[in-house]
C-alpha cells in the first residue's frame, strides 16, 4: 500500500535520477523557447518587475528598452513604474548591498545578464537553470526562510512566487550504501516534505541490491491548475530574463542572415575575379 502510494507520487511529478547520492547536481530541465513570443516576453517583464525587482536590481537595463518587446512608454509608466522612476531610468533598487548581506546572507545578484552568467560549457543553458530553479522550491522548516531549493541547495532566497505556484508536496527517494557495525548495506530513504515544510522519512533496507547509488525527486502539486499556470508564467519570466541578458540578440540574428547572404555573393564574385586574373599565369 505504501509502495503504491510512493510510486503514484513519483509518477505524477517530475522525476530525475542522477548517479550521485542526494545533494549532488540536480539535472536541469530544458526551458521552453519563447524568445520570439512577444506576449510571453511582456508577461515575463510584468513578472520580473512585480516579483524580482524589489530585491534584485538590473542596473544595466533601462525601462524604456522594453519598447523593443512592443511596450509603449505609456504602458511602461502605467504598469511597471511604482516608486517615482522615470521611463528612461535604469532598473535600480533602493536596497543597499550591505543591508542585503545582513538580511539574506548574500546580496541578491544583479539580474541584467543572469541568463548568460548561469550558462555552462557543453551543458544546460542559463535559461534552463533559471527555469528549473524557480520551479524546484520546496517547503523546509529547517531553513531560515522556510524554503529550500533543488537546483540551488540552501539558497538564501525565499520562494517569492509561492502564492502563484500553490501548495506542493516534495518527495525525495535516495538509494545509498550505509555502514553499520563494520557491515555495508544498501537502504532506500524516502523523505516526504509536506506543504507546511515538515517531513517524514521512511527507511527500508534493500537486500541483495546490485545497482548504484541513485537519487530521485518528485513534486506533487496540490493545486494542479495553479501549478500549471505557474509553469507557463515561469517560462515567460525565463524568456524575459534571457532576452534582457542580451536585448540585441533578436535583431542580430535577423541582420546576420542578410550579412551572410551578401558575403556569400561577395565571395563568389571575388573568387571568379581571382580566377580571371590567375588564368593568365602559367
Amino acid at each position: 500500500m505504501l509502495i503504491k502510494k510512493l510510486l503514484s507520487v513519483i509518477a505524477l511529478a517530475v522525476a530525475c535520477v542522477t548517479a550521485q547520492a542526494a545533494g549532488g547536481d540536480y539535472a536541469l530541465e530544458k526551458a521552453p523557447n519563447r524568445l520570439t513570443n512577444q506576449a510571453a516576453l511582456q508577461n515575463g517583464a510584468k513578472m520580473f518587475v512585480n516579483y524580482c525587482l524589489n530585491c534584485h536590481a538590473a542596473t544595466s537595463m533601462r525601462y524604456n528598452k522594453l519598447r523593443d518587446i512592443g511596450l509603449t512608454d505609456t504602458q511602461i509608466k502605467d504598469n511597471l513604474l511604482f516608486s517615482g522612476e522615470k521611463v528612461g531610468d535604469l532598473m535600480k533598487v533602493a536596497m543597499t548591498s550591505v543591508d542585503a548581506k545582513t538580511w539574506f546572507g548574500a546580496p541578491p545578484p544583479d539580474l541584467s545578464v543572469i541568463a548568460r552568467a548561469k550558462a555552462t560549457i557543453n551543458g544546460p543553458s542559463g535559461a534552463d537553470y533559471i527555469y528549473t530553479y524557480l520551479r524546484t522550491y520546496y517547503r523546509d522548516t529547517t531553513k531560515p526562510t522556510g524554503w529550500n531549493n533543488l537546483a540551488f541547495p540552501n539558497a538564501g532566497m525565499p520562494h517569492v512566487l509561492w502564492e502563484r505556484q500553490g501548495p506542493r508536496e516534495y518527495t525525495s527517494v535516495v538509494v545509498h550504501e550505509v555502514e553499520k557495525d563494520g557491515k555495508k548495506s544498501w537502504e532506500r530513504v524516502t523523505k516526504v516534505y509536506g506543504p507546511q515544510g515538515y517531513w517524514t522519512a521512511t527507511t527500508e533496507p534493500l537486500v541483495d541490491y546490485t545497482g548504484k547509488a541513485t537519487s530521485g525527486h518528485g513534486f506533487k502539486a496540490l493545486d494542479k491548475a495553479r501549478a500549471t499556470a505557474y509553469d507557463s508564467d515561469i517560462a515567460d519570466l525565463t524568456a524575459f530574463l534571457t532576452w534582457m541578458s542580451e536585448p540585441a540578440q533578436l535583431l542580430r540574428k535577423q541582420i546576420g542572415v542578410w550579412v551572410l547572404l551578401f558575403l556569400g555573393i561577395f565571395f563568389v564574385v571575388a573568387w571568379r575575379l581571382n580566377a580571371s586574373y590567375w588564368k593568365h599565369v602559367k
Binding site: S60, T120, S245, R252, G256, L263, A270
Partner: protein, 459 residues
C-alpha cells in the same frame, strides 16, 4: 629648375614623388614586388592576420569611446556598449570574436612557417619578429581580458600575476609592482588599460612593420622551399615569381571574403562560441571575495597553461633527468667552447630544477615554451626547407606535434585530475623534445630530391 629630382610620373603624382617615395614604394612592395606563384591555402593567414589587427584597432577605438576603466564602472560600461550605444553590440562582438580569431589565424600562420621552413636562412629575422609579435599578442590579450572586469577577468589576472611572485628573490615585490597594489584592483585595471590600448599596440605595429620590411628584403618562401630568385629572366624578374599586385591582392581579397563569412557567422549567430570566446563566468561582475571553482585562461592560452600545471615537484625530476641527458648529448656533439659551456649550463639547470620551487619552473616551462620558438631557425638542421621533400616519418612527427598541441589545449580547459596531469606532462615532453631534439632528428632519414622550379598547376 636645376637640382630638382626627376621622376617618371607627372601631375599630382609627380609633385608627390619628388617629395615622398610614393610610386617607388608602390612599385617596390606591390606592383613590381615578385612573390612565388605557387602559394597555397596556408599563405592566406599572413594577410588575414594584418586584417584582424586593423579590425581590432578600429573596433577598439570605438569601444574606448564608451568603456570606463574604473573597477566600479567597467562591467556596466561594457553592458552600456552592448545595449545603448547604437551598433555597440556589433562592435563589441567583432572585438571579442576578433581576439579569438586573431589567435586562430596566427597559429595557422605559424604552422605554415614550420611546415615550409619559412624561418630558415635568410628569413631568420622575419621569424624572430614574428615570435615577438606572438609574445606581444599574448600580452595584449592578457591585458585586454581584465578590462570587462568579470569574475574570470579578475581571477585569471590574479592567478597569472601571482605566478611572477614565484621568481626567486624578486618575485613578491615584482608582483606588487606589476599590480600596483597587493591584489588585483582598480590600480591594476587602469594600468592594464594603458598597456592594452596604447603601449602594446604601438609595439605590435612596429613589429608588424619590421616583419613585413624584413620579408620584402628577402622575398617570400614557398611550399616547395625553393629560392625563386635563383632563376631570373632577362629583365631580372624571377621566373617563378609574379607581381604581388594584382595577383596576390586579388587572391587575398578572395581569402578575406571566405574568412569574413566564417567571422561574421560567429559574430551574428554564435558570438559566445559555446562559452569559449566569451566565457560565461565573465558575465558575473568581479568579486574579490568569491573565488570561482574553476579558473582557466581563455582557450588560446590553454596549451601553455597545461604545461604550467604539468610542472609539479615530481615532474621536475623528469626535467632534471632530461637536462642531464642533454648535457651528455651536447658534450658529445658540440665542439670548442660549446663542448664545455653547454653541458655545464645544463648540469646547473638540472640541479636548480630540484633546488628552486616547482612553481617557478612551471612559469619557466610556460614562458620557455614560447621563447623556445625564437631558436627554431638554429635548431633545424635539415638539408631541405619544405616538408614536401622531407622523409615521410618527418611528416608524422609534425602531425604528432600539432595534434599534441591541440590535446594540451583541451587538457588546459579541464579541471585537473591525475590522469589529465600525466597526459599534460607527456604532452609537455613531446612539445619540448620536438624542438630541442631537432638538431638530431632533422638530419636523419632519406630526403626527396628538391626540384629546380616550383610545382605549379595552372588555374
Amino acid at each position: 629648375m636645376a637640382g630638382d629630382k626627376t621622376v617618371e610620373t607627372t601631375g599630382l603624382m609627380g609633385w608627390i614623388d619628388q617629395r615622398f617615395p610614393l610610386t617607388s614604394t608602390i612599385k617596390g612592395h606591390l606592383s613590381e614586388y615578385y612573390a612565388p606563384k605557387n602559394f597555397n591555402f596556408w599563405y592566406f593567414f599572413g594577410s588575414l592576420a594584418m586584417f584582424v589587427l586593423v579590425l581590432q584597432i578600429v573596433t577598439g577605438i570605438f569601444l574606448v569611446m564608451h568603456y570606463k576603466p574604473d573597477a566600479q564602472y567597467a562591467f556596466q560600461s561594457v553592458e552600456y556598449i552592448m545595449r545603448e550605444v547604437p551598433g555597440g553590440w556589433f562592435i563589441r562582438y567583432m572585438h571579442s570574436t576578433g581576439a579569438s580569431m586573431f589567435f586562430v589565424v596566427v597559429y595557422l600562420h605559424m604552422v605554415r612557417a614550420l611546415i615550409y621552413g619559412s624561418y630558415r636562412k635568410p628569413r631568420e629575422l622575419i621569424w624572430i619578429f614574428g615570435v615577438g609579435i606572438f609574445l606581444c599578442l599574448m600580452a595584449e590579450a592578457f591585458f585586454g581580458y581584465l578590462l570587462p572586469w568579470g569574475q574570470m577577468s579578475y581571477w585569471g589576472a590574479q592567478v597569472i600575476v601571482n605566478l611572477f611572485s614565484a621568481i626567486p628573490f624578486i618575485g613578491p615585490e615584482l608582483a606588487i609592482w606589476i599590480r600596483g597594489d597587493y591584489v588585483v584592483s582598480d590600480a591594476t585595471l587602469n594600468r592594464f588599460f594603458a598597456f592594452h590600448v596604447i603601449a602594446i599596440p604601438l609595439v605590435l605595429l612596429g613589429l608588424v612593420a619590421a616583419h613585413i620590411v624584413a620579408l620584402h628584403e628577402v622575398g617570400s618562401n614557398n611550399p616547395d622551399g625553393i629560392d625563386i630568385k635563383a632563376k631570373k629572366d632577362k629583365y631580372g624578374r624571377p621566373l617563378d615569381g609574379i607581381p604581388f599586385h594584382p595577383y596576390y591582392t586579388v587572391h587575398d581579397i578572395m581569402g578575406l571574403a571566405g574568412f569574413a563569412i566564417i567571422f561574421m557567422a560567429i559574430v551574428f549567430f554564435a558570438p559566445e562560441m559555446g562559452g569559449y570566446f566569451l566565457e560565461y563566468n565573465n558575465f558575473i561582475p568581479a568579486d574579490p571575495l568569491k573565488t570561482p571553482l574553476h579558473i582557466a585562461p581563455v582557450w588560446y592560452f590553454t596549451p601553455f597553461y597545461s604545461m604550467l600545471r604539468a610542472t609539479t615537484s615530481d615532474f621536475t625530476w623528469v626535467l632534471a633527468a632530461s637536462a642531464v641527458i642533454g648535457a651528455g648529448l651536447t658534450f658529445m656533439r658540440c665542439k670548442g667552447l660549446a663542448k664545455l659551456a653547454w653541458p655545464l649550463a645544463l648540469l646547473v639547470v638540472a640541479v636548480l630544477l630540484r633546488v628552486i620551487d616547482a612553481k617557478f619552473w612551471g612559469v619557466v616551462a610556460m614562458g620557455g615554451a614560447v621563447v623556445l620558438l625564437f631558436f627554431v631557425p638554429w635548431l633545424d638542421n635539415s638539408p631541405v626547407r619544405s616538408i614536401r621533400y622531407r622523409p615521410n616519418w618527418h611528416k608524422w612527427l609534425y602531425g604528432i606535434f600539432f595534434a599534441n598541441f591541440v590535446v594540451l589545449g583541451y587538457l588546459g580547459t579541464q579541471a585537473p585530475t591525475d590522469a589529465f596531469n600525466l597526459m599534460s606532462q607527456i604532452g609537455t615532453m613531446i612539445y619540448l623534445a620536438f624542438f630541442l631534439l631537432m638538431p638530431i632528428w632533422t638530419v636523419k632519414g632519406e630526403y626527396k630530391p628538391v626540384p629546380d622550379r616550383v610545382v605549379f598547376h595552372a588555374h
